[in-house]
């Protein structure tokens, strides 16, 4: 007979004693190497963990000036790129019609031989398209193209040309500045989703963490103006919805209030800014005059009217110093985008934030003589010109250097048609098949950043001279034979005797030359008694920086306000649709460049929690009126084309706006990017109409109107949240999951 109802004896608890978990038995030596990560909107300093020759983890490099140990959602993606099942392993030569998909795997010797012959026979008619590049890979690409008499275009779907032009006109230099958000008391941002995808998000997020740190200083206040409820809008203390293209008027109205109420600090020369005209130059922009033209709703956070709201924001912005005004994204993507951005950045002069801690910090030139601190700013118009050159046979050979412009540009520019022709010899340097290199005559597999040398002058730097260095950390797998794109270009130039301006055996050789140059400077973060020691310390640290080598304010503020006002024109819109189309970069896929990586696809969007699919954001009340429910397949139609996606009904979407993320709608490439049902994956670039930004000729991607139709089809939406809208319910007061407090309610 067993014991009945007995107590648990103490000894029996030992059943639960810790077993030797595999995690307790730590085997294998780990090493961490510093390098640069290339999967985000800007390069980041990272350290890569290596065990037994395999890369296991990527983390922020704590010493690197721009990201200070932090990482973005895309940082780890390099690992999946490195070990991707669909990564190209050998050179591929077209065997048959273009776009037939028939390629032969050939040796590097034969591939380079053929490319070399093509270069020789088409000398003087060679062009290259690449993403924005800096560092020695940019120098090599430029010298290579110059040697063969062509041009290189730096292509991005949503280019930064207008932003760069505005920076140059307002701050006197086109090197992008650093925004010292961490030390700011107030951030007023327009359109730029800087906490998610805009320019250098990890850098801004690091600052944002300090900005919200009430232990160090006052908690900063942030107002965000945007025609869509973005990640940045969701983190702002106040979000002001606005009609696309009206951002500049709002900024000038804020300027009006600051001057009218004399809210600017004593050092600001308003007389000079306004060419002596004072407030009268801005009379047309008084809140009472323009408040109702902006499309901003009334009653935003207790404001009774839009003019009152503008005055409140202007007073806050001018009284919480240092304050920063940031603009980008949709604010620079209407036909009057240049005016909008200039008007926004002008506000920094008016509150005395330029070149000051907690304000706009100007970045210096690069410390190395042939390295630029900026990328080239090309636009879709430059690509259109190249297409004309191909049509007129001025360009007969095109090198695609890790870029996918057939996917990344609207169909109406006609790039696909010119590439699908035997008149052009197309070489693609890339790691995956895509919509562009399906037309290639030759595909040369490139090394991943974890396998390759490289360097970068980060743009923007953190306010002082910085050079990041990238080193090969692991070797390619034994069944892979990728080669460094820069080394391939160098060897082609050397074979044809065109390497006169490229005195390097390899990219590594060029980097060592740069290291010697930095050694001679005898300043900065890297030490070493010999050049060799300096070089290994440079690699160990992941870069070189000198906190004392800062930029200078070269702004010429004389008459600046009048110059900006002169550019004010109403935005031109295409189409007569019921909604403004506001496309946006996807949080992890960005413009689609990370689409092959399963982690990027399987990461929920922060606002909607949708993964793997294209969703169409629509206001909940509008959806209700039109009988649209979440999951319905919606056709979005513009004058250019139409796409379909899955409705995501949002309580935060402005009623007049339809927004759609970039990044999906891939048709050629890894199954992770392309294997989708009809209706759930679309490329929003296809419906953007041909509108250009005045003064920069960039694509005005927020100047299209669209109409929507419910197709009657419905699909399950792949999202992380539950099937019902997530609102906190069922808890008594004080038991909410997310508790809030007011700034004064807790002790400091």
């Amino acid at each position: 007979m067993g014991a009945v109802a007995c107590d648990v004896f103490e000894d029996e608890l030992k059943v639960q004693s810790p077993v030797a978990l595999p995690e307790d038995l730590v085997k294998g030596k780990e090493n961490w190497y510093a390098t640069l990560c290339r999967t985000g909107p800007s390069s980041e300093g990272v350290v890569v963990r290596v065990i037994e020759g395999r890369a296991k983890k990527i983390q922020g490099n704590p010493n690197y000036p721009t990201n200070l140990g932090a990482q973005g959602v895309w940082s780890d993606l390099g690992l999946q790129q490195l070990y991707h099942p669909d990564r190209l392993s050998n050179p591929l030569r077209l065997n048959g019609e273009k776009a037939s998909g028939r390629f032969d795997s050939i040796t590097w010797g034969r591939a380079l031989d053929e490319v070399s012959k093509a270069l020789e026979s088409r000398d003087g008619a060679v062009a290259m398209i690449s993403p924005p590049m800096r560092g020695h890979s940019a120098v090599i690409a430029d010298e290579f193209i110059k040697a063969f008499g062509g041009k290189r275009i730096e292509f991005e779907s949503l280019d930064l040309k207008t932003y760069r032009s505005a920076i140059k006109n307002i701050f006197g230099q086109d090197i992008q500045p650093h925004y010292d958000i961490g030390n700011a008391e107030y951030v007023l941002s327009f359109g730029a989703d800087f906490l998610s995808t805009w320019v250098s998000p990890t850098q801004w997020q690091v600052g944002y963490g300090e900005f919200r740190d009430s232990e160090h200083s006052h908690r900063g206040i942030m107002t965000h103006v945007d025609s869509r409820f973005s990640v940045t809008a969701s983190n702002a203390d106040r979000w002001i919805p606005i009609t696309p293209g009206q951002e500049g008027k709002l900024a000038l109205s804020i300027a009006y209030v600051i001057i009218e109420e004399q809210l600017y600090p004593s050092g600001v020369d308003v007389n000079s800014l306004t060419s002596g005209q004072g407030l009268s130059s801005l009379a047309a922009y008084s809140p009472e005059n323009i408040g109702n033209q902006l499309g901003a709703p009334e009653h935003v956070l207790g404001a009774h009217s839009v003019p009152e709201l503008i005055r409140t924001v202007a007073r806050e912005f001018a009284s919480h110093r240092p304050a920063i005004a940031i603009g980008g994204g949709t604010a620079g993507a209407s036909t009057n985008g240049l005016f909008n951005l200039e008007a926004i950045y002008l506000l920094n002069h008016l509150v005395g934030s330029v070149g000051k801690e907690g304000g706009v910090i100007l970045n210096p030139e690069s410390p190395v003589k042939n390295l630029k601190a900026t990328s080239n700013a090309h636009t879709l118009s430059d690509l259109e010109e190249l297409i004309r050159d191909i049509k007129s046979s001025k360009i007969k050979m095109l090198i695609m250097n890790n870029v996918n412009p057939v996917y990344g540009s609207p169909d109406w520019i006609g790039l696909e048609a010119v590439l699908n022709s035997d008149d052009i010899y197309l070489v693609s340097i890339d790691s995956f098949m895509n919509e562009t290199n399906q037309y290639a005559d030759m595909i040369l597999p490139d090394r991943n950043f974890i396998e390759d040398w490289g360097n970068d002058v980060p743009e923007p730097a953190a306010g002082y001279q910085t050079i990041g260095i990238q080193q090969p950390i692991v070797n390619p797998l034994s069944d892979m034979d990728p080669r460094s794109s820069s080394d391939v270009l160098l060897s082609l130039a050397q074979d044809l005797g065109k390497d006169g301006n490229m005195p390097w055996k390899s990219l590594e050789d060029a980097l060592k030359g740069m290291s010697d140059e930095l050694f001679e400077l005898n300043r900065g973060s890297v030490s070493g008694s010999t050049k060799q020691e300096f070089w290994s310390n440079l690699l160990r640290q992941g870069g070189w920086w000198d906190k004392s080598a800062v930029g200078q304010d070269r702004s010429n503020i004389s008459g600046l306000i009048s110059k900006v006002i002169d550019k004010d024109k109403e935005p031109r819109l295409s189409g007569d649709g019921d909604f403004y189309l506001v496309p946006f970069l996807h949080n992890s896929l960005l413009d689609g460049r990370n689409g092959d990586m399963p982690w990027a696809q399987g990461t929920p969007d922060p606002i909607t929690s949708v993964a793997w699919q294209t969703w169409i954001e629509i206001n909940d009340k509008v959806a209700n009126e039109r009988g649209i429910r979440e999951g319905d397949v919606i056709e979005v139609k513009s004058g250019a084309s139409s796409i379909t996606g899955i409705a995501f009904v949002s309580p935060a979407q402005p009623p007049s706006v339809i927004s759609v993320p970039l990044g999906q709608g891939r048709t050629k490439g890894s199954a992770y990017a392309t294997d989708r049902l009809d209706g759930e994956s679309a490329n929003v670039l296809d419906i953007i109409e041909n509108n250009k930004i005045e003064g920069t000729e960039g694509l005005a991607w927020a100047a299209t109107t669209v109409s929507i139709t419910n197709t009657g089809e419905s699909l399950r939406i792949a999202k992380f949240e539950g099937d019902y809208e997530s609102r906190e319910v069922g808890f008594t007061e004080g038991e909410e999951l997310i508790k809030t407090t007011s700034p004064g309610d807790h002790d400091h």
């Binding site: 077993v19 595999p22 995690e23 307790d24 730590v26 890369a55 296991k56 983890k57 983390q59 140990g69 932090a70 990482q71 973005g72 940082s75 780890d76 999946q80 070990y83 990564r87 906490l195 690091v206 944002y208 963490g209 919200r212 009430s214 409820f229 990640v231 969701s234 106040r238 002001i240 709703p297 009653h299 935003v300 956070l301 949080n587 992890s588 399963p598 982690w599 399987g602 990461t603 922060p606 993964a611 699919q613 909940d620 309580p651 935060a652 979407q653 402005p654 009623p655 792949a718 999202k719 949240e721 809208e725 997530s726 906190e728 997310i738 508790k739 809030t740 807790h746 002790d747 400091h748």
Partner: protein, 258 residues
């Protein structure tokens, strides 16, 4: 001789700093060999995220907020998952961690049912990776098989490496600074760009999180009174403290969505 130093690990999440960026989510998946979250897993509401960002709506256009809440295993002091496991696969270790012993788990899923925070995940299928992608798998972390339950471990493999390297070999007590400097912090904490996630030893006075736990347990010593624990009224005694989101402006809104 083995030097054993007692710790009680804990985490602090500052809701005022979390931007919902998902950096922690991907970092965790890379570190801990989580299965690839395919589209089908999302459709089935079975995506594996040891740390996830919950997003809650508040208000309506234009006075609307999206609130983010990072949720991972709360490593409860009174964990509801522990007593229901018939095979002691989940137990509380002597460092305050709620530990899952994979090779004991028989897949009853009682722990998943009983978890207040829904942070336990069941492998309904054998997780698979294409052959090349297997090169990325972290050798310090077991790949779980079909039929067992898994969850956040506070990156126990990193804590173990830290103990071996710092405490046993170098004979120095671990603290949050040495863990951060030498890549021993949990992957989510290390990744977070805004420092919304903090990790450390609740018992170590030098660690930044110590004060928050002291204050919570009724001792004086920390100046910030934003700390609370989610669903703590149930009595789970979680090892994760959340710091309240600061609302700069009060929002007047109707509770139309109840």
């Amino acid at each position: 001789m083995v030097v054993k130093i007692e710790h009680k690990w804990g985490m602090v999440v500052d809701l005022d700093k979390c931007t919902g960026c998902q950096g922690c989510v991907v970092a965790c998946q890379a570190e801990n060999n989580l299965p690839i979250n395919t589209k089908d897993l999302f459709m089935q509401k079975r995506a594996f995220e040891w740390i996830r960002i919950e997003r809650y709506w508040e208000g309506d256009f234009p006075n609307v907020k999206a609130r983010y809440l990072p949720v991972m295993c709360q490593h409860c002091g009174n964990a509801p998952c522990e007593p229901v496991c018939p095979v002691y696969a989940t137990y509380h270790n002597d460092q305050g961690l709620n530990v899952q012993v994979y090779n004991r788990c028989v897949g009853t899923r009682y722990c998943i049912n009983n978890c207040t925070y829904q942070v336990r995940f069941f492998n309904f299928w054998e997780p698979t990776w294409p052959e090349r992608l297997q090169n990325q798998l972290n050798p310090d972390v077991t790949v779980r098989t079909r039929g067992i339950t898994e969850k956040c471990t506070f990156c126990v493999q990193r804590i173990r490496r830290a103990e071996i390297t710092v405490e046993r070999r170098e004979r120095t007590k671990l603290n949050d600074k040495t863990m951060a400097a030498r890549n021993f912090m949990p992957a989510c904490v290390q990744a977070c760009p805004t420092n919304a996630l903090m990790f450390g030893d609740q018992n170590n006075k030098e660690d930044k999180i110590h004060g928050y736990f002291e204050e919570l347990h009724g001792h004086d010593g920390h100046s910030d009174s934003r700390g609370y624990r989610i669903l703590e009224e149930i009595g789970t005694d979680p090892s994760v403290i959340y710091l309240k989101k600061v609302d700069q402006f009060k929002m007047e809104h109707s509770e139309s969505h109840g």
